[in-house]
Structure formats: structure tokens, C-alpha cells
């Protein structure tokens, strides 16, 4: 009767390793969404971009660190592009993101020259550190965990520095930030770029972990990441910089264990996206349902272009 618990328990480490990798993406979603107030969809394209770039670099026989660095740079460029499109042409942030992720699909295909690359025979971060342990989940957890900790610590330090406080101000109140001498335009471009860089980094680690890259990898990753972020925030809160930075990691860990539990309970993988989508919808919509006024008013008109 409790067979499902045993099969769930067996995949906990694998799932945890995966969730740590995805937590880079969730951080890459959190920074634009929460810190910069820029709802950014780039990660949906930056994640496979990072995977494709890393795969090509690895398949060419280069060092895994170089592959990850290249992925990081390309993801950064993708994020910067989204922000720039919004700022320069005043196109709605979500639409700017969709434009970039759509274009990235072609670019990703061009980069790989085909729809997928197997990487089993090439070097990876894990093999590079220890060829013998490369496939052990606990080992992956340690390696990726150290990387996550590094990014987390860097973020925690940065957002409390003088520069970091100006970045947060740019998101908290762009008009007021400008009046305080803060270059909001540049910060937005670089900040959304940083988000794209993290998503791409996640993609580059993912392909090394799973041993292949595919242009369709991570389809729907943005909604998964958003679900993870919402869970993380409801667990650790977002009242301080520390909590806001911890939320992606905690949320990702919980979210992927939940998914794994649902799968062992018999949820069909094909229905996962529907389930996740409904979950995000519920979480975003709940406050609205609760605040039932006398009657419903029409929300302010949204514009494609300001």
C-alpha cells in the first residue's frame, strides 16, 4: 500500500539534485520579477540557450567551465536584449520577453545545427571534478549545492552593498530612483541580463547532468520556476533580502519533490503542465477571489506598446 512512498523516497536525491539545478533558473526569474519589478519571460528561452551553447562547446572538446561561462554570457545577452527592447521601444515587458524567447528558438537551433546533441561521451562538470563519482546523485547535489551557495552568498552580499541598494531602488520605484541619481535604464538592462545569465547557467548544468541537450528542453520552465518561486516565498517569505534570495532555492526544492510525489501517486507526466499551470493560476488568483468587492470592475487597459 505504501509502495508509492518507497518509490518516492528512492528518487528523492535525484529530484533534489535536479531542483538545485533549476534553482538557478528560479533565481533568474526572481531577480527581474521581484527585485526589478520587470516581469521577464526570457528564461523560457535562456534556459535552452544555455543548454545548447554549453553542449556545442563541450562537444567541441572544451572545458566544462568554459562551456558554462559561454552559456552565462549568452544568457546575459538574451536578458539584456529583452530589457532593452522594452526600454527602447516601450514594448510591454511580457511581449518583449516572448519576442526574445521566440527568436531564441531559431537561434538555439542554429547554434546546435540540429535538434539535439548527446553528451555522454564528452566532458562534464561532474566528470571533470571526479570521473568516478560523476553519476552519483549525492555527488551532484554537493557540486551543484556549492555553486548555488556561491551565487546565493554573492547575491546576499551584493544586494546590501551601496550598489545593490541602488539596484533594489530602481525596482522599488523607478521614478524616485532616477530622482536620487540612479541610472534606472542601465540597471534594468544589466539586472534582467543577470536573470538571463542565471537561467542559462541552469541550462548549461542541466545538459551536463542529463547527458544531452535538446532545443525543446525546459518547455514551460518559466511556469515551473514561477510555481517554485511562489512556493518558496510562501514558506520563507520575502520581507528581507535574505528571504527573497532564499525563496527560489527552498521553493525549487519543495516544488520538484511535490511533482515527484504526484508522479509516484500516478499523475501522468503529460498532465504535469496543466497541474502546474492551474497551481500558479490559483496562487496568483487567490487574493483576487478573496477581495470580493460589491461588483467587478474592468482592470486598467493594457497596452502592447506605451
Amino acid at each position: 500500500m505504501f509502495d508509492f512512498l518507497i518509490s518516492f523516497w528512492n528518487v528523492v536525491p535525484v529530484t533534489f539534485a535536479q531542483s538545485l539545478i533549476i534553482s538557478f533558473v528560479v533565481m533568474g526569474i526572481m531577480i527581474p520579477f521581484r527585485i526589478l519589478g520587470f516581469p521577464d519571460l526570457t528564461s523560457e528561452g535562456a534556459f535552452p540557450l544555455g543548454g545548447c551553447v554549453a553542449a556545442v562547446v563541450l562537444a567541441a572538446g572544451f572545458n566544462p567551465l568554459l562551456a558554462m561561462l559561454m552559456a552565462l554570457i549568452c544568457g546575459f545577452a538574451a536578458g539584456c536584449t529583452t530589457a532593452w527592447i522594452h526600454l527602447r521601444f516601450r514594448i510591454n515587458t511580457l511581449l518583449a520577453g516572448i519576442l526574445v524567447l521566440t527568436m531564441l528558438y531559431s537561434i538555439n537551433l542554429r547554434i546546435m545545427g540540429r535538434t539535439n546533441i548527446a553528451l555522454f561521451n564528452f566532458d562534464s562538470l561532474f566528470k571533470w571534478i571526479s570521473p568516478s563519482m560523476a553519476n552519483i546523485p549525492t555527488f551532484k547535489i554537493v557540486v551543484v549545492g556549492v555553486l548555488v551557495l556561491l551565487v546565493f552568498a554573492a547575491g546576499w552580499y551584493f544586494f546590501l552593498t551601496e550598489r545593490g541598494v541602488t539596484v533594489r531602488a530602481a525596482g522599488a520605484g523607478p521614478q524616485m530612483a532616477e530622482a536620487q541619481g540612479i541610472n534606472v535604464w542601465t540597471i534594468t538592462v544589466l539586472g534582467v541580463g543577470a536573470g538571463g545569465a542565471l537561467s542559462a547557467l541552469g541550462g548549461s548544468i542541466m545538459v551536463q547532468s542529463q547527458g544531452f541537450a535538446d532545443v525543446n528542453m525546459g518547455l514551460g520552465i518559466l511556469i515551473n520556476g514561477l510555481a517554485a518561486l511562489i512556493i518558496g516565498e510562501s514558506v520563507v517569505g520575502r520581507s528581507s533580502t535574505l528571504r527573497q534570495l532564499a525563496a527560489p532555492v527552498v521553493g525549487s526544492a519543495i516544488y520538484y519533490q511535490l511533482i515527484s510525489l504526484c508522479l509516484t501517486l500516478g499523475l501522468k507526466p503529460a498532465d504535469l503542465k496543466l497541474a502546474t499551470g492551474l497551481f500558479v493560476l490559483l496562487m496568483l488568483g487567490l487574493p483576487q477571489l478573496r477581495s470580493g468587492g460589491r461588483y467587478r470592475t474592468v482592470p486598467p487597459q493594457e497596452k502592447v506598446k506605451e
Partner: protein, 260 residues
């Protein structure tokens, strides 16, 4: 010190909705001069201040501070010299950041921010001292998120932030108009005392005729996007609410000026 020449800004030109926000406004202020701006609604007072701070790019004209041409500089580049407090208490501060972090932003205004930690004991003491001047107890709430403060407290914070680094020019746009009378009074007192102590060059828009009479070295009245009349020196010092009304009698809008 400040020179605005032939500032012109027209919204929706050539349409039935055409609005002349500024229509050839001229103004010059000497260093240390405190000038009060009055005028009816829609006269262009806010537009003049926004043109100076850079929030409203001009169609034509020129803005200079100490001989430097600011006309084509974006808001954030002017901020090193110019600080503003607006009527709306919500727009001068970052609601999701703490009082201390907001103060830090003002402290960094016009400087290059570094990669060292922003808040240390020394700075917190400095901020506490600066905030205590107002008398609203903000000095004990350094770690409170600004969004939790009242409008009056937020506006006081905006003011303290604006005068923090002794800007070359302080712009105040009806900055006490949205506050309850007691808080408005506290904020106005703190404003005048900051301007006096640091000998700030300031431009203050007010609808309150008593304030217009009591404060400032000089006074201008705006109408239809232009500076129509100005008063300074002895004439301003001797002005009363009655003489102001008389002096501005020739302009049709004088009735719009409300008495204190």
C-alpha cells in the same frame, strides 16, 4: 546660479487638446536665493520645476546651473545637483525598502556607489541624527519599511532625504499640500530651517498665501506657462497678503490664489 531661458513645452501640439505647459518661461536665481512660486492651477508651476529637474524634457529653451547647460541631461544626471520633494508623499521614497535604506539612497545621490556594505553603524547614527530634526520619531524606525509609514512621515523622510547632501538646488512642489495641518506645519518648519541653516538655493511652489508672504527672499507668479510677475528684496520683505493680491490684481487669475 539657476537660469531658465525661454522654456517651452507644448503637449499634443496642433490638436484640439493642445496644452501649453510652458510658454517661454524665464527665471534666474542667485546662489542662496529662496524663491516662492505662486500661480493658479495649470499655470505651469509644476512644469517649471519638472523642466528644471529633468522629469519633463523641453521642446525649446535652456536650463543652466552655475553656467553648466543641463537642458539635455536626463533626470539621474541632474540629481547630483538638484533634489526635489513633490506633493504626493508616495513618489519620493521607495516603499519596499527601509527608512535607513532610503536615507542611504539620498546619501549616495550624485556619488558613485561602491561595492562595500551600504549601511554601517556610523551611517545609521548619521541618519538617526538627520531624522530627529523633524520630530516625528522616524529616527527610531530606521528598519521599518517605508510603505508602513503615514503620508506625513513619508513626506518628512522625502524632505530629509532631499536636504541630506545639501543640493545646489532644492525644488519643492506644494510638498505640504497633501498633509494634515499639524504635520504640514512640522514639515514646513523643517524645510525652512534646512534652507536657512545650509543657505540652500530653493524654489518652493505653494498655494498658501501666508507661506508665500512669510517665506522666501523672492517671489514669482506664473500664469499660462510664463513667469508674469516677480518680487524681491525690500518689496518682498514688506509684502503682506493684501499687497500680494493688489500687486497681482492685474492678472485675471488672482482670485484663484487662496488665502491662508
Amino acid at each position: 546660479m539657476l537660469r531658465v531661458s525661454q522654456a517651452r513645452k507644448i503637449f499634443y501640439p496642433g490638436t484640439p487638446d493642445e496644452r501649453k505647459a510652458l510658454d517661454g518661461a524665464d527665471l534666474s536665481l542667485a546662489t542662496g536665493e529662496f524663491c516662492v512660486v505662486i500661480g493658479s492651477n495649470g499655470a505651469g508651476k509644476s512644469s517649471l520645476l519638472n523642466a528644471i529637474s529633468g522629469r519633463m524634457p523641453l521642446d525649446e529653451g535652456r536650463i543652466e546651473i552655475n553656467g553648466a547647460d543641463l537642458t539635455d541631461l536626463p533626470v539621474f544626471k541632474r540629481a547630483a545637483r538638484i533634489a526635489s520633494v513633490f506633493q504626493d508623499p508616495m513618489i519620493g521614497t521607495a516603499p519596499t525598502m527601509t527608512v535607513a535604506e532610503n536615507m542611504l539612497l539620498a546619501e549616495l545621490r550624485g556619488r558613485r556607489s561602491s561595492l562595500s556594505p551600504g549601511l554601517n553603524a556610523e551611517r545609521r547614527d548619521l541618519f538617526r541624527e538627520r531624522l530627529s530634526v523633524i520630530g516625528l520619531g522616524l529616527e527610531d524606525r530606521l528598519d521599518t519599511n517605508v510603505g508602513l509609514l503615514s503620508g506625513g512621515q513619508r513626506q518628512s523622510l522625502s524632505l530629509v532625504m532631499a536636504v541630506s547632501n545639501q543640493p545646489d538646488l532644492l525644488l519643492l512642489d506644494e510638498h505640504t499640500a497633501a498633509l494634515d495641518p499639524r504635520t504640514a506645519d512640522l514639515v514646513m518648519k523643517a524645510t525652512i530651517s534646512a534652507i536657512d541653516t545650509h543657505d540652500l538655493t530653493a524654489l518652493m511652489v505653494t498655494h498658501n498665501m501666508k507661506h508665500a508672504v512669510d517665506y522666501g527672499d523672492s517671489l514669482i507668479m506664473m500664469d499660462s506657462g510664463r513667469v508674469r510677475l516677480s518680487m524681491s528684496g525690500e518689496e518682498k520683505a514688506a509684502a503682506t497678503v493684501e499687497t500680494l493680491i493688489e500687486r497681482f490684481h492685474e492678472t485675471p487669475d488672482w482670485l484663484m490664489l487662496q488665502e491662508a
